[in-house]
């Protein structure tokens, strides 16, 4: 296989939260991302899935250098992004872009679609001719399925799905090699979600992009990912190819997430009701369980899980799992 474009090595992000009054000040450390490592190849899509509070968005932001990691390295085509100074990192950002969750809030309401899409061009190529910029913006609009003659409209004149298309055009205008999509469809209606996922998939193929697609639901990333990483409380539970993960998940948490996606079919939904077993809520992130972080909710928990933290280890087929009992459990769907 080719050399990976992105290597994330033991990346960790801690947030420090101060509580208590002036006289009883106490610092609490929240380990939002706790030692994540993975490689991403050119033209590959990695889905990152987890419940809210699992650290998936923090991980995405730390990779882009929008949050300073506490530990670890982000190697982008040979450069360690965590060591670059601000200006060097800014220049590098041309190569990796982000699409945000809320399509409407992430667009400036006082800028036209054309202004929004061409802003990155003005920032990085201030000497570019106006005509050229506009031409490029129109080209981008066409590429993402908007009409170029809507270039002078404002965000409020577009629907949610169209706003997300503008967000995608803005992310792609600099010809990046990596695009991180942080829950790009969560705020959209079902019929529009599918449009945006299909659009991203097409663009990825056409442009040879690497994609990181963050979602809270395994059904969303199923159609777009080559590999999927499942996160829980800041740690990776499983990192498998799409084929392997959806047919035979290795981690009990993956299996639980899969079962919790209800199926829109009255008969199957009734059957699934008997079968779902993930109970309770995620423990407090300030006080994560000892040993395996998932053991408090895991039905396959044994003594060992309370004491030893399972490493994310390679299985025979190259997929990775952080579970002591991965070999003996059969979680096939």
């Amino acid at each position: 296989m080719s050399k990976p474009v992105l290597r994330v090595q033991d990346l960790a992000v801690n947030f420090i939260n101060q509580t208590g009054g002036i006289f009883r000040r106490r610092e609490r450390v929240l380990r939002a991302v706790n030692g994540i490592s993975f490689d991403l190849h050119a033209s590959e899509t990695l889905g990152i899935v987890g419940e809210s509070g699992s650290g998936k968005s923090t991980l995405a932001r730390a990779i882009l250098g929008l949050i300073k990691p506490s530990r670890g390295r982000v190697m982008w085509r040979g450069d360690n992004l965590t060591e670059l100074d601000e200006e060097a990192l800014r220049q590098k950002r041309k190569e990796f872009q982000i699409v945000f969750q809320d399509p409407i809030a992430s667009l400036d309401p006082r800028m036209t679609a054309g202004d929004i899409i061409s802003e990155p061009l003005w920032t990085f190529y201030p000497n570019m001719a106006t005509v050229q910029v506009e031409e490029r913006a129109r080209g981008m609009m066409k590429m993402v399925g908007l009409l170029p003659n809507q270039i002078n409209r404002y965000p409020h004149e577009f629907s949610g799905g169209q706003c997300q298309r503008i967000g995608i055009a803005r992310a792609l205008v600099l010809n990046p090699r990596l695009v991180i999509c942080d829950e790009p469809v969560s705020a959209l209606d079902v019929s529009i979600q599918a449009q945006i996922i299909n659009l991203l998939k097409d663009l990825q193929k056409k442009l040879g992009l690497s994609l990181i697609f963050v979602a809270h639901d395994l059904s969303i990333v199923k159609h777009i990912s080559d590999r999927v990483m499942v996160m829980y409380m800041g740690s990776a539970m499983e990192l498998s190819t799409r084929e392997a993960l959806y047919q035979k998940p290795l981690h009990p948490y993956t299996s639980a997430l899969m079962k919790s996606v209800a199926i829109p079919d009255p008969k199957l939904a009734a059957a699934a009701r008997q079968d779902s077993w993930l109970t309770g809520d995620m423990p407090s992130p300030y006080d994560p369980p000892k040993g395996c972080v998932f053991h408090t909710r895991c039905p396959y928990m044994v003594k060992r899980c309370e004491a030893d933290v399972p490493a994310l280890r390679h299985m025979e087929d190259g997929n990775r799992v952080a579970c002591h009992r991965a070999e003996e459990l059969d979680l096939a769907i």
Partner: protein
Amino acid sequence: MALLEVRDLTVTFDTQEGKVCAVDGLDFNVETGETLAIVGESGAGKSQLMMAIMGLLAENGSASGSAMFKGRDLMSMTPKELNRIRGAEIAMIFQDPMTSLNPYLTIEKQMTEVVVHHQGLRRDEARAHAVEMLRAVRIPDPEERIKQYPHEYSGGMRQRVMIAMGLLCAPDLLIADEPSTALDVTVQAQITQLIGELGEKSNMSMILITHDLAAVAEIASRVIVMYAGEVVETGTVNDIFYRPCHPYTQGLLASVPRMDSSLDDPLRAIPGNPPNLQDLPAGCRFRDRCVKAVDACRSRPPVQVQDDGRTSRCFLDMMTGEVLEVPVSEEPERSGTEVLEPQAPASETVK
């Protein structure tokens, strides 16, 4: 007699850009003990419909039509009369459990207030009842947790509290507006199940307003599908999921990403965007996005009704899917309320 009979309900909003008709002449019944799901995407009018019935419309909104609840018209009641019914006979659960609870008051204070107001219980009786309800929605250690404030609860637990509050006065009708949307998938499943079980146990009727088709499949008995302020299809849950007639319902079902589909199945989107309510296309409102649209769709589609009450607003025959040969005459103009004239077809269609 049905528990709730809604007739010709129309909701309009006065906005800076003119009048917007969010709900356009809706008729439906809710029978005792049934769970009716109202499905639609944002802007379909499903939430405003309920707000109108409950007298909770925003200031610039106005509603017409009737909503007969146990023989009394909710729409013509004074706020005082409505206050006696809301929370007691009709309860609501809102989408966002984070903002629906008062952060300054303990759960106990918020829960007992309801029963003290409606049933005149003493504080200690009210408290015991509230604890019992918290136990019914499976909040562990309710005697202790009732003393806590909302921020000490997780999102899923807060939604359980909302459900418990809704059930405090044993309402005849529970309206749940997107009860699981703001929650994590794993918690969504728990909340949907809980609501389904509570509905089964009591003889309470329920209206579930949602865009989550999986939740509908799990707990609804009958379904109304709305699009751009109108009902496009109604039927039993099995009809809607296994034999959808309307192209919009078909498209909606096909666009849901499913865990049980094969990995190679493409995700089928409905093309285009929902119409602007201020600039609705003439004729069928779904026409611009419909893969089965024909010339006839330029005029208002007829509402076909089957013997069992199943309906579809479409020029395609409900049984055969063929184009109806003689388009049924257009719906009569409604009187009494201002009906917004459909504008010229929207020019901006997006590929």
